[in-house]
Each structure stands twice: as C-alpha cells, then as structure tokens.
C-alpha cells in the first residue's frame, strides 16, 4: 500500500507543478510556440527548473544499487535515432501546437470540467488505442 502512496504523491506534486508553471494554460503554450509573432518565453523556465533539478539528482540516485521501493531501475537503454522516434515526435508536436495541451496538462485540466480538456483527453486515449491496434502494421512499415 505504501508503495502506491509515493506515486500518488508524485502525481499530485507533478500536477501542482504544471498548474503553477502555466503549462495547463493552452494559451501560454501557444504563446511559447509562437516564436515568430508575440513570443512568450516564460515556459522555457519550466524546463530549466525541472531539468536543472532532476539532472542534479539523477547521477546520485542511479549510483544506488536499487530504488527504495522496487528491485531495480527501469530506465530506457535504447540509443538509436530511428524513424519512429522522429515521426512520433513530429505528430506529437503538431498536436501540441494545434491544441496547446500535452498529455499531463490535459489530464490535470479534466478537474476544471472545461470541454476542451475532456475532448482532448478522450481523443488522446482514442489515438493511443488506434496505435495499440495498428502496432503490428506499424512495426512492418517503420522500424
């Protein structure tokens, strides 16, 4: 039970961080991406804060033989730059620019009851299901 309290608290902290930072306001996200008109650079500081903090502690934590509540670390070890990675990032970037939400802020915003976040998350889940059921086909087409 304790094991699941920690991810719960992580989820709450993450959501509060997204809300405080401005990431849950799609108008701010679009402003950040609107580089060639009225650029709002403030969201760059979200990445500076998050990456700065995590990059500082990452090496200390992964020096441990295991995490506190699990047997081992589960970190990605794939280092190939492949078509799937770039194509996926392109599709994601297009959706991010089009709606102003990425997955976390979409889910957090559900609590506001605004219809955009509900439609966004519903469509995101649909996109994930379509990916899931077309995976064998995708695996044949792109590496």
């Amino acid at each position: 039970m304790v094991k699941n309290w920690v991810p719960f608290v992580v989820g709450v902290l993450f959501a509060l961080g997204l809300g405080v930072s401005g990431m849950t306001q799609p108008q701010k996200v679009v402003g950040f991406l609107d580089l060639f008109r009225e650029w709002d650079p403030s969201l760059a500081f979200v990445m500076i804060g998050a990456i700065g903090f995590h990059a500082l502690f990452f090496p200390m934590i992964t020096k441990r033989s295991s995490p506190i509540l699990a047997d081992q670390f589960h970190l990605p070890n794939n280092s190939d730059l492949d078509v799937r990675l770039i194509l996926g990032a392109m599709l994601f970037g297009a959706g991010w620019g089009l709606g102003g939400y990425c997955p976390g802020p979409g889910i957090v915003s559900l609590a506001s009851g605004n219809k955009e976040s509900i439609v966004f998350v519903g469509a995101m889940v649909a996109g994930m299901l379509v990916f899931h059921f077309t995976k064998p086909l995708i695996n044949k087409v792109v590496r």
Partner: protein, 139 residues
Amino acid sequence: MLSINSEFLYALVGGLLIGLAVTIMLLAKGRVTGISGITYNFMLFRKGDRGWRGAFLFGLVIGGVCLSIFYPTSLANTLDYSLSRVALAGFLVGYGTLLGNGCTSGHGVCGISRFSLRSISATLTFIAIGVLVVFLVGS
C-alpha cells in the same frame, strides 16, 4: 515588467516542483515519469505493475482538483478553438507520443536530464513542429 518577471518566477517554481516529482519517482520506484507511457500502460489492463500507474494518474487528477479549488485560473483555456480542432490535436498527441515513445515529461524532462540523445532529438523535433504549426495555423 513586474508581471513578466513574476510569470517567469511561477514557471521556474512550477518547473522545480515537476523536477522534485520526477526525482522522487526515480528514487522510490526507479521509473521514468513519462505521462504518455504511464497512461498507455495503465489502459492496457496489464496485471501486476498497474497499481503504481493508477496511483500516479489518480494523483494527477487530485492535483487538478486542488488547482481548480485554490487556483482556478491555472486551468483556464481562453483559446476558444473548435472542438474538432481540439479532438484532432488530442488524437495526434496520443498516437504520436506512443510512436515516438514519450512526451514532454518522458523525453522533455526525464530524458534530457540524463542527456539521452533520443530524448534531446525528440524534444527539439516536437518543439520545432509545434512552432511551425502555430506559425501556420496560428492562435
């Protein structure tokens, strides 16, 4: 001037909170806090490892409830986009994050923090395409 500076401060403090959250996840569970991957793996109804993912997602929602009570403007969407546009956006985000193995959290925060070349490439790509799309179809 003051308001611009305070926006930067809010963004930085929010970013530090996100950094703290993903650091606790790594220390406790040894996991990358990638929200698209967690959502997908939770949806698959896989046995065993589903509990922590559900707990995390539940935490996100409860955090959202706290924001809606204490800081409701943080969840406001003033863009007034059509719902079909928002639906297309959501579909592309869902499909794209799974094809590319990550989103803003998994690649943008966790991956860049460990200097993963894949995550750096993915992040530069999705920001560049986001900039392009906003430039083309606008705000």
